[in-house]
């Protein structure tokens, strides 16, 4: 046992505490922010600790792996935790200023902490079934966060979102059951060690079982052809928490793809999933950006861009099929995830501020933010240029490393699609800029109260500039994290010990001799 379990316990107890403080809104806001900020400091310390001391493992109840519940903090998990908590804290600061009394009365803050709990849990778990439980906890938090305020549209979109995720959850258990029947374990380290040793029909059946998991994770990451749920559901989420949704929720899917299909199932002869992902990524990028081009609502355009950007990350995972370029491709994906979470969250937060400034959500009705609130316009410009991949911001480097991995792997088709997508991204960002920010303002003055949320957003916008100009240490960290999951020997040794214990004969073996 060590302290890494705190990333789950702190949001859990905060959520319970906040639910009890419903009658004290100011205290609730203060406690909520303090908990987020404290945990953020802890996860940055944890990242440093893991980077210098190696992978940290916590076995619940002291059972030895592969039997007990394992929580594992390696570099990738810590990077994701840092992103989750820092974006979460910025969003908490933002929502402290924007949340309405009605929303707060609907347990806005407790649900947000449940969301943090689920996301952190899915990053730190070392076991497939626990990943399912973490997904469900995260989804409960997201259903609650989506519905605060309870307008008709919100409830209706939440219904679609819940229905889709119920199917996803059922499929997840199917995948877990099949993997358990074939491999006899669900511990990721144990699975990684065992799939390496499998061969023949059993390996082929495991590949078939992993396809079910592939569908579940791509559904969560919103890649082609299962992205349709995202652009309808995200615009109904309240403005502040939308930034966290946009940044983290689809990236939990990308993280699961990295963890399961790069670390656990990526062995010689198991390349099917990564090949499929490479093809899907091309369609995802292109269809996402084409969808964005024909929308006329700011947050809806940005939602389509999430899909398009997920394509770039999945492309990096797809390139990992080739073991020569696998470390570089996975490092590129990790760097892209870091860039994307920061930029996408800040864009959604700026969109919320711009809606507050103009009082409208449709592009053709907005106009003139640059006159009403020049600071907001400059925040948007930096984030939008970074998203489209303009130097010197982080988007340029992130796209550069992904494309270079593609060129090194001689996958020229996908590189071409990625470059075209990048141009189209710039076009649709220009559309938002021209309609919402330029032009004559349609009202005399901005609504008051946009300054404080804009200041919270500025923290993330500064982060994308820092990530772009001082990328070296982040690239080094991404490369180390990629090495750790592409060749998971250190991970397996940290979880299973020096002399791996193997499971005795299991029911699964009797079923599939």
């Amino acid at each position: 046992m060590n302290s890494i379990i705190l990333v789950i316990l702190v949001p859990f107890f905060t959520a319970i505490g906040l639910a009890l403080l419903r009658d004290r809104p100011r205290l609730e806001k203060a406690l909520s922010f303090a908990s987020g900020a404290g945990l953020t400091m802890y996860v940055f310390w944890l990242l440093h600790h893991v980077d210098t001391q190696g992978i940290q493992v916590s076995m619940i109840g002291g059972y030895l792996a592969p039997y007990g519940i394992a929580f594992v903090a390696d570099r990738l998990a810590c990077i994701m935790l840092c992103l989750s908590m820092s974006v979460g804290t910025v969003v908490l600061a933002y929502t402290c200023f924007t949340v309405t009394e009605r929303q707060q009365g609907h347990f806005f803050f407790p649900f947000f902490h449940v969301l943090l709990l689920g996301v952190n849990w899915s990053f730190i778990t070392g076991d497939l079934f626990n990943l399912f439980v973490a997904y469900e906890v995260m989804l409960i938090g997201s259903y609650g966060s989506m519905m605060v305020g309870a307008t008709r549209q919100q409830v209706r979109q939440t219904m679609m979102y819940v229905a889709l995720n119920l199917v996803g959850g059922a499929l997840f258990v199917v995948g877990v059951a099949l993997v358990y029947a074939l491999a006899g374990t669900l511990n990721m380290a144990d699975l990684a060690a065992r799939t390496a040793a499998l061969s023949g029909p059993r390996a082929a059946m495991l590949t078939a079982a992993s396809m079910v998991l592939l569908l579940v994770f791509t559904l969560k990451a919103a890649t082609f052809p299962v992205f349709f749920w995202l652009p309808d559901s995200y615009p109904v989420v309240p403005a502040g928490v939308n930034g966290y949704f946009a940044g983290l929720l689809t990236k939990v899917g990308v993280y699961s793809l990295l963890r399961v299909f790069v670390m656990v199932f990526r062995q010689e002869g198991h390349g099917l999933a990564t090949e499929i992902l490479l093809v899907l990524s091309g369609f995802t990028m292109l269809l996402g950006v084409l969808g964005a081009l024909c929308q006329w609502e700011m947050r809806r355009i940005l939602s389509w861009h999430i899909i398009s950007q997920v394509g770039y990350m999945v492309m990096g995972i797809g390139l990992a099929a080739d073991s020569r370029i696998a470390p570089a491709a996975v490092a590129a994906t990790i760097f892209y995830v870091v860039h994307h979470i920061i930029v996408k969250s800040s864009l959604f937060l700026v969109a919320g501020v711009a809606e507050k400034v103009t009082g409208k959500t449709r592009l053709k009705e907005m106009g003139g933010v640059i006159t009403l609130a020049p600071a907001v316009a400059s925040l948007f410009l930096v984030a939008a240029l970074s998203l489209a991949g303009m130097p010197p911001f982080s988007g340029f480097l992130a796209k550069f490393v992904v494309l270079r991995a593609g060129l090194d792997g001689h996958r020229f088709g996908i590189v071409l699609v990625a470059v075209v997508t990048s141009f189209l991204t710039l076009v649709s960002m220009m559309k938002i800029w021209a309609y919402a920010f330029w032009g004559a303002p349609r009202r005399a003055a901005a609504d008051s109260g946009w300054q404080a949320p804009a200041a919270a957003t500025a923290v993330l916008v500064v982060a994308t500039v820092v990530l772009g100009l001082g990328a070296q240490p982040f690239m080094r960290l991404a490369a180390d994290a990629a090495d750790e999951i592409v060749t998971p020997t250190a991970y397996v040794r940290a979880v299973l010990g020096e002399t791996p214990r193997t499971l005795a004969a299991r029911g699964g073996k009797a079923l599939f001799p």
Partner: protein
């Protein structure tokens, strides 16, 4: 025991998927109930379900043949709790949609944003009160 269970799982999956695809909110909720039971049964079968009546704690590793693996039932228990909680939530959401839009057919719901704001239900359902 695998064959009858496999047939049951297949029927549950078929019934669940058919119900989810029906244009009716209540059938969707019932469909998810069937689907989650299908999945739970599948998990039980994957643990090597057997009728041999003994606990899987033996000192001789060769004596475990035919005993049921204890981990899948644990997993199923967790999955049941989760599907129950989310199913209850889903039922309430479906009810609120019915109350707000006056229809239990998802195909009659307006297209999001385009005509959602101007949509008025054809008939307002009577609100349930505590006396009902």
């Amino acid at each position: 025991m695998e064959l009858p269970l496999a047939v049951a799982i297949g029927l549950l999956f078929a019934g669940g998927i058919y119900s989810i695809l029906r244009p009716n909110l209540i059938r969707m909720v019932i469909g998810f109930g069937l689907l989650s039971n299908a999945v739970n049964l599948l998990m039980i079968v994957c643990g090597g379900f057997s009728l041999r009546n003994a606990a899987p704690f033996v000192s001789d590793p060769n004596a475990v043949a035919g005993l049921m693996d204890p981990i899948p039932p644990d997993i199923v228990l967790t999955a049941i709790v989760i599907s129950f909680a989310v199913g209850a939530l889903f039922l309430i959401i479906c009810y609120v949609v019915y109350r707000d839009y006056g229809t239990d057919n998802p195909e009659e719901l307006p297209i999001p944003v385009a005509d959602d704001e101007t949509f008025t239900p054809r008939r307002r359902p009577r609100r349930l009160t505590y006396e009902d």
